[in-house]
Amino acid sequence: MTTVIETRDLVRRFGEGETMVTALDHVSVTIEEGEFTAIIGPSGSGKTTLLQLIGGLDEPSEGDVFLSGTNIAHMSGTELSDFRRDHIGFIFQSYNLIPVLSAEENIEYIMLLQGISEKNRKDRVKEMLALVGLEGLGDRRPAQLSGGQQQRVAVARAMASKPDIILADEPTANLDSATGIALLDVMRELNKQMNMTFVFSTHDQKIMDRADRLIHLEDGRIHLDERRTP
């Protein structure tokens, strides 16, 4: 197994002096390629903070984050942008698609940033839409899609750049139960088919049920790291 994510003594503090809060307190964790991992815990336990640090969206107060062997903890803004573009796919709770772009264009945009040729982009968009079951809906704008469909587009967008890992922050929180299950099945299938590494931050029992690893966070520390068979 190849290690794709490794955090070493990761600390993230917010605020200063008496108002200082330690969101993550010396968290060290290793995630292997192809794992379907859920980071769980009560609100304020540090799930989203950990996900953001792994995704290079935030800078740790202390410690290191290695993604595919590269320490991203102290990269500059442009280096991080490039690293995120080429190595990390994001799925957000509220989809966060660009409203003025169609589903196809939302998926295509990240490949444009990667400098992929137009023909290859178009081919990959079709492939991604088919993978998430949205053939024929590519020309619709986000507002013309249901929540579940939008989140599928977000999954396709995250996959389009062929990242090493996909980080998903509460991806099913805004979806009804049936839609959430359907979306999770899509992601689980992609995980199995393509050996894609997924890391979730979630409260959702449906995700926990499908995860093959549960990392329990409490007060910014790893309370339990549980490997299981879904």
Partner: protein
């Protein structure tokens, strides 16, 4: 292409706001072009007045005659000069002249006078001398039946000396050879009005003036018109190369004080228009900043998925330039017929202005690439500059903070 599409669709997001912003830019551009057209047209009119009244577009002299006129500073090799002027494609008309100060007598009255020796045939190819004859008739070089040569005099001189058509005028001056020049001429025409530059002028046929002033066949000046009046400075440079022994000057040198005044006025107008455009663009800046603030979360997403800060600056730049470009294009289409009308027809003035006998009763604009494209370039450049602060703001957005915003 996708980035352009994204930029264009972002403009259309808040259509009403974009429309209002575009309208203010369109209005600013139209105002700028209209003001430039009128200003350039007015100054062009004024320049025409004095260049076609006397100065011409380019003048040729011996040494520094234009600054320090002396009767002996004459152009001798006229054939060489005239060969150059005749064969030059950019010269549409030329005329030789001699000048001298004189004392004029009419009956028992005297007055200082300025003698202009002109070629009656060639002078109208450079100036509006024919139109300026307000009484009597235009000069010719032949003597009258009594053997007296003819003269046209300025309206001021005619009043001072109480002279009319057919009267005698006596001129006394000094010849180029040091002799006393004096002769009697018959007034056959009165030119201009009491405010003309030549109100105290006496126009003589050039051959007569040369004989009167003992200059031989020499002349003091050649005045000429350029095919393209806006290119007269280049023509002067070209002619100077062909006539290295002489001094060739564009009207901008001959009328240096006026030229500086005109340039100052134009700069003042440019500054005022620049200020108006700046005020317009404060509104544009507000719009673009608002647009960036509203899309904080979206910029956070774009950064999360790998957009570089520079790419966000470029996106804002494209949006602003597109909006400005569309506004200016619309403004161009709207103002074009107005400028054409002002250039071709013009606005009839309530009170006509008499400029030395030539009546100007219409305010006209000017249509040129400069009038349209200078404001266009200025607007687009300002739009580009205005896009920088919002672009930097978008570029500095922290994804963690932006994704937490709603």
């Amino acid at each position: 292409m996708l980035t352009l599409k994204l930029a264009f669709r972002n403009i259309l997001r808040q259509r009403r706001r974009s429309l209002l912003t575009a309208l203010s830019m369109t209005g600013g551009y139209m105002l700028f072009v209209f003001s430039m057209s009128l200003l350039e047209g007015s100054w062009s009119n004024v320049v025409d007045i004095f260049t076609l009244d006397q100065t011409g577009h380019v003048q040729i002299h011996k040494d520094d005659y234009a600054k320090r006129p002396k009767i002996h500073k004459t152009i001798r090799d006229r054939a060489a000069v005239e060969r150059v002027l005749e064969s030059h494609d950019e010269v549409t008309g030329w005329a030789p002249r001699v000048y001298s100060a004189a004392l004029a007598y009419g009956g028992d009255k005297t007055s200082p006078a300025q003698v202009f020796g002109i070629d009656p045939a060639l002078e109208p190819s450079v100036t509006r001398i024919l139109q300026k004859v307000t009484e009597g008739e235009y000069l010719d070089a032949a003597p009258n039946a009594d053997g007296y040569f003819k003269a046209m005099i300025g309206r001021g001189l005619a009043r001072t000396l109480h002279l009319g058509i057919g009267d005698e005028i006596v001129l006394i001056s000094s010849g180029a050879d040091g002799s006393i020049a004096n002769d009697i001429f018959i007034v056959t025409g009165i030119v201009g009005n009491a405010t003309s530059f030549d109100r105290l002028g006496v126009y003589l046929p050039i051959t007569v003036a040369q004989e009167f002033l003992s200059t031989g066949a020499d002349v003091h000046e050649y005045a000429l018109l350029a095919k393209d009046k806006h290119d007269n400075e280049n023509l002067a440079v070209d002619l100077q190369g062909l006539l290295p022994e002489l001094k060739v000057s564009p009207w901008q040198e001959i009328e240096a004080t006026f030229y500086r005044t005109m340039q100052s006025d134009k700069q003042g107008n440019h500054f005022t228009m620049g200020l108006i455009v700046f005020i317009v663009f404060i509104g544009v800046l507000n719009t673009v900043l608002m647009s960036v603030l509203e899309r904080t979360r979206e910029f956070g997403v774009l950064k999360s998925i790998g957009s570089r800060p520079f790419q966000l600056i470029r996106l804002i730049f494209l949006e602003t330039i597109m909006l400005a470009g569309i506004s200016v294009a619309v403004g161009f289409v709207l103002i074009l017929p107005v400028v054409i009308w002002f250039t071709e027809v013009g606005l009839q003035l309530d009170m006509a202005v008499d400029m030395g006998g030539v009546v100007f009763d219409t305010m006209k604009g000017e249509m040129s690439t400069y009038v349209f494209f200078m404001p266009m370039g200025f607007m687009l450049l300002t739009a580009a500059l205005i896009s920088i602060p919002p672009g930097l703001r978008a570029a500095r957005i922290l994804p963690r903070v932006a994704l937490g915003s709603h």
